[in-house]
Amino acid sequence: MLLAALPIISLPILIHLINQRRFQTIRWAAMLFLLAANRMSRGYARLRQWLIMLFRMLAIAGLIFAVSRPLASGWLGLTAGGRADTTIILLDRSPSMRQQSSGAVGSKLETGRQQLVQTLNTLGSARWVLIESTTNTPRELESPDALLRLPAAEPTSASADLPAMLQAARDYIQANKSGRTEIWICSDIRQNDWNADSGRWQTLRDSFLELSQGVRFHLLAYPQTSSGNLSVRVTDVRRRQTSDSAELLVSLRLTREDGADSSPTRERGVTGNDDPSLALRASVPIQFEIEGARSEVTIEMSGPQFELKDQRIPLERNHQRGWGKVSIPADANASDNDFYFVFDQPAPRQTVIVADDAPAARPLQLAAAISPDPALRCAAEIITLDQLPTIDWERVSLLLWQAPLPRDESAKRVHSFVDRGGQVVFFPPRDPGNDEFAGVRWQSWVESPNGVVIESWRGDQDLLAHTQSGAALPVGQLEIRKSCGLSGEHTPLASLKGGATLVGRATTNRGGVYFCATTPAAADSSMASNGVVLYVLVHRALATGAAVLGNTRQLVAGDASAVSSEQPLNWHQVAGPADALSTDFAFHGGVYGAGEKLFAVNRAAAEDHAAVLADQRVAALFQGLDFARVDDRAGNLAALIQEIWRLFLASMMIALIVEAALCLPRIVARAGSPAGASA
């Protein structure tokens, strides 16, 4: 509307031109004075005419701007013109949104909500829809004010998935056939929340571009990181029985965000060392709470990360299972100062080996049955394919399969086991066959009498990852004499020279399905004789598989696949935030119980890393779309936008007054009146 009305500003010029065309003709006697006036300097008079015209145009412009009720701020300007049919608010509730700026009162999420309420109330819309990051489900709001009251707008421990939220918004627009839509995204643009590398972004961009109704994106970004913010994460909890009592061994990691430490207990240059990593030292009190009993340990931290290994916390001898919490003092982000954990007597690690080749099965049984810890009981059982139905799957952690790939009923049982979270490692049978499992099938055997060198393996994650001390597994020392090719979609974890996969992982929703292209049989490889790799591989798979058994579980908040199988609606809170709704327990960090089971829910590991998407990267994600971004900061009290029509109205009045002053005829001294005088 504003743009359409802008040509009206030229109205004074048009009137002036029309007026020029409407001249009158008169026969005039006093040409003497007219000619003299024409000869005089007309600089001021002309300037005055132009000024009058300018101020008339300004007055009209002021009137137009005042009527169109523009909004103004440092960034928004006139981008938010017109009233939207639907306004969709995408609210990032991830833990990092609880971060506060130094000296500010509110967190990023609180500030963002208040700013959204103010801004959206000003802009107006026919319909308000909230899509928050835990459920990604559209929820209609009566007004933006509801954002301040809704529990669904409070922070959680669950990470956000922006592509999924945008997908939900897109589905909503399509399903409801809404008109012009504004999508407001309130987020701190953390990399783990935005998944900028995901292929879904391209699909989303294309789908939004296909929409016929205009969709405008506004990103209310809080990209500031809080340097010096500490986060705590428990990496391992073990209960150990000692001779006369028991103790809990807790390992944890403290991570500090980039930059200088802002902790009040910071000591600068204590050591007098010039090394910047040592120059910043801070003592951090760490509080352990075991079912209400607190103890504290103060550590000296220098550098960006600190690992505390096996901190011993004494337990009563009969204290078999329970929960605990690790806390550090409050800092910029309150959400990463606590970490909950649960502990229990470890469940027996049972392995089932389905093998049709005894030389291959025996090393597997040995590797699986020997426990790495005296407190752990490990058992391995070799069965044939026919005995499969007799297995008590609820107690099995690992299935080692050295037989033709399962089919029919067997395949269903194995799939069911994997979906529960079980781990399966397939070894090639003597006769590969044509069956496939999880999209992968064996090919023919390849014999290499001189042995094939293992060219590469993934040491960063999964079964062949480096040890906790950082040392690599001796995978390269293995000698592979016979290997069976793999076909189908899988992720190679180790590759032979020439590119053939030695260890690969098939894609699954839960659980783990691995394929090892050779067997531990002496004729096939040296995996048995050089047994470190085989032992580590089997026990890592076994540990992962055992983690889903037992009565205690460590869960990641919002991890739908892991949490949903535990029926979170039946949970009751044992420890955690008091304001969490029972329906949202799965999204809030805490300890929850359901019957005999205990669940510790915590934020995802990626939340501890403060990686923020670069501005160009964010702009690239919305390339081609109508996108505006504003960077705000937590605790900002100034409104993002405000109506400035009063300013324009005042401008119009000033312009009119100036114009009137310029139009006033000059006062002529009456004493010199030329009429009726005589000498």
Partner: protein, 302 residues
């Protein structure tokens, strides 16, 4: 010769009767050929005492002042002022610009009224009246005479005067200064749209010839106020180039030029001892003439 009795629309009998109560005086001595109301440069036989002078042989003994002889034993002759009539030359500007008039009365109409009324008043008191219509040159000219029939001719000339052509007032006034031989009252009725510096020479010429000069400058109210709402195209009434102007834009400078011109003209008139009357066409001509006549009674014979 029977005078023409037809009425003239530029004459108003009531105005004439009211103005007849005030005589028309010359401000300077006049050289008339008959006795009249105006002072003469010569001694005469009026009742107004002028001076004593010593008797010289040849003087008329009847003019000896015997009383003075009785008091001082010396012979003195008593002299009196001579009264004479005047020649009133009406100079009427009939250039094209005199046709202008914004409220129904043109300058030429107004000039006719002024000239005719003055002519009538002059003849009534025995003075001679002549008229010259001037534009680019002397268009019509009739010498001053004092009989009423001559007045009718003057009226006829005034009635038939048509404003046309450009103003060449300066050479015309010089010419009149030369052609009017004896002292006269020269009444110029014009809008005087001439540079004041050029007029200075004319008036000084007339003064040098011992004429008593009176000027009525006629200005229209619109020329003084210059109030226009729209852009105007001004056509010169005397055939000059036309001017297109935005009145709002030019009004200031117009008024400034007008003020400069009027100030300069007033200065010229003062320096040339001209009896100058600036007349707004909106004013009543009777009042204008009354001011003129009354003003002259104060400066009689100076």
């Amino acid at each position: 010769m029977i005078p023409d009795r037809r009425s003239r629309n530029f004459l108003d009998a009531q105005v004439l009767s009211r103005l007849a109560a005030v005589p028309l005086f010359a401000r300077r001595p006049m050289q008339g050929n008959v006795s009249g109301r105006h002072p003469s440069p010569h001694r005469g036989a009026s009742v107004e005492f002028a001076e004593y002078r010593k008797y010289v042989p040849g003087d008329d003994l009847r003019r000896l002042d015997w009383r003075a002889y009785g008091r001082s034993d010396r012979f003195y002759v008593k002299e009196f002022e001579a009264d004479t009539n005047l020649r009133c030359c009406l100079v009427l500007d009939t250039s094209g610009s005199m046709e202008f008039g914004s409220n129904g009365v043109t300058k030429i109409d107004y000039a006719r009224r002024l000239a005719a009324t003055l002519g009538y008043l002059a003849v009534q008191q025995g003075d001679a009246v002549g008229v010259s219509c001037v534009a680019k040159g002397i268009v019509r000219n009739i010498p001053a005479k004092r009989n009423p029939a001559h007045l009718m001719s003057v009226f006829d000339i005034l009635e038939h005067a048509r404003p046309e052509g450009e103003t060449q007032l300066v050479p015309v006034l010089h010419e009149l200064a030369e052609t009017i031989r004896q002292r006269a009252l020269i009444v110029i009725v014009s809008d005087l749209f001439v540079e004041p510096a050029e007029l200075r020479g004319c008036f000084q010429h007339l003064r040098f010839r011992k004429h008593d000069v009176a000027v009525f400058q006629l200005l229209d109210p619109l020329e003084l106020s210059f109030t226009f709402q729209r852009p105007m195209r001004f056509l010169d009434m005397e055939g000059g180039p036309s001017v297109f102007a935005e009145p709002n834009e030019i009004a200031d400078r117009y008024h400034k030029a007008l003020r400069t011109y009027l100030d300069a003209l007033r200065q010229v008139m003062l320096e040339s001892a001209v009896d100058y009357h600036r007349v707004n066409l909106g004013d009543d001509y009777e009042q204008v003439l009354m001011r003129f006549l009354v003003g002259r009674t104060r400066g009689k014979g100076k």
